[in-house]
Symmetry: C2
Subunit: 253 residues, 2 copies
């Protein structure tokens, strides 16, 4: 009898083609499945992640579910897996859940962070986007207010075959100034479309440099046209930072 487990993990995406398995490049998913398989007589293992991340995108908070025979206690399984997995993937918590809990469908809220730095910094290469231009953070935050609410984000998406709607509910969007000339963009929603955060970041950077105005962003959103938005900010600055499940809230603290 298999049991369902939720894993809370984090990974540095630099050396992966993203979360999702690909035929020719190493993915986070495949790396984790192989590690679990090694501990279960090389049985084929399928894990279900909370969502996709693109090439080079990181996750400081990620969840997956997997059905396994109860061979190990969760703490023991976590310890063994962290020993097998490379240093860029870490399992933080493993808990047993109901068989109907689902890492992708049960997530009610996701938060992404996007980091950038405006002064050259050797220690954050690969985890932040170097953008050496003056930015009007106040204007960028004013433009954020346009995004808040339940809206059609077609203008900020990539052509995506398996979604029925481009409507997302954004509950939070804000730029925060950090030390060492770094900025963090925080955005939370019930769901995100493919490429959406990076297109939003690129568009807000165009606002910060004065290329676009508050009104332009309103227009872009209204046009529901994928060619309207600004450039897509590179993946290296993007982190999936929080995934929330109502049934897990009290169990993870």
């Amino acid at each position: 009898m298999k049991q369902r487990y939720f894993f809370e993990l984090s990974y540095l995406g630099t050396n992966y083609c993203g979360w999702q398995k690909q035929p020719s490049s190493p993915s986070v998913q495949e790396t984790i499945e192989n590690a679990i398989s090694k501990l279960h007589s090389f049985e084929k293992i399928d894990v279900v992640g909370c969502g996709r991340t693109d090439t080079g995108v990181h996750a400081s908070n990620y969840f997956l579910h997997v059905d396994l025979p109860p061979k190990f206690e969760p703490e023991q399984l976590k310890f063994k897996l962290n020993g097998i997995l490379p240093s860029d993937i870490a399992i933080h918590t493993i808990i047993q859940v109901d068989m109907n809990n689902h890492a992708r469908f049960d997530a009610t809220k996701r938060t992404y962070h996007y980091f950038l730095h405006t002064t050259k910094n050797p220690f954050i290469t690969g985890q932040s986007y170097f953008f050496p231009q003056k930015l009007d953070v106040l204007k960028m935050n004013e433009a954020c207010s346009i995004l808040i609410g339940t809206k059609d984000f077609t203008s900020f998406s990539k052509l995506h075959t398996d979604v029925k709607t481009n409507i997302c509910s954004i509950s939070h969007a804000k730029w925060v100034a950090l030390e060492n000339d770094m900025l963090r963009f925080e955005i939370s929603a019930n769901r995100f479309l493919r490429n959406m955060v990076r297109a939003i970041v690129g568009t807000l950077l165009d606002v910060g440099t004065g290329k676009l105005t508050h009104k332009d962003v309103e227009q872009i959103l209204k046009q529901k046209n994928r060619n309207s938005a600004g450039f897509s900010a590179p993946g290296q600055g993007l982190f999936l930072a929080k995934v929330e499940y109502p049934f897990l809230n009290e169990r993870l603290t």
Copy 2:
């Protein structure tokens, strides 16, 4: 007529054989000399660093001096060099100094930081040492007090031909707990011997795990024997963090 310039810089040491030029591996020194040379009609350039760093060791604060014709304003030179240099080396300040100011001989105090983490963390690989054991930080800090003062550090050095004395004056040595199960060791002295900080860190970690006691560290120091100390902690956690020059103090703030 050449003029002397001091450069304040930082670098990630991961991809270098250290500061010092080597015949076959890329060094930070050579990379900077080549970049300056490119801006000066490929004239041969020699820079003098404030000290050596080993393979994979980083510097969050480093100084060099170099004599150049006054072809560029310091700000302009800094901007051009940062464009040529790779993302793991950043020039922060360039100032003109007297021709007798020397980056190595005039430094009166140097501070190193050593970072380690006791819980797996994908985002600090290469900039911190993963040491997944319980550490008694109180005992480690008690042992630090033995190091403070003007003492012979032969036990914590490598065989080193070009130094006449192994006496160093340690003014500060302390472990600080940071968030995310990270620790930072801070140590300041007028000078350091080759491998000294890493041998001290390894020895203090042996105190933290209970392998060595306060008394043992006293004995090791007294023995003046390079084989007495604990293991040498790996280079990836080590940062040259501050170099002080009395004549620069007021000019850099």
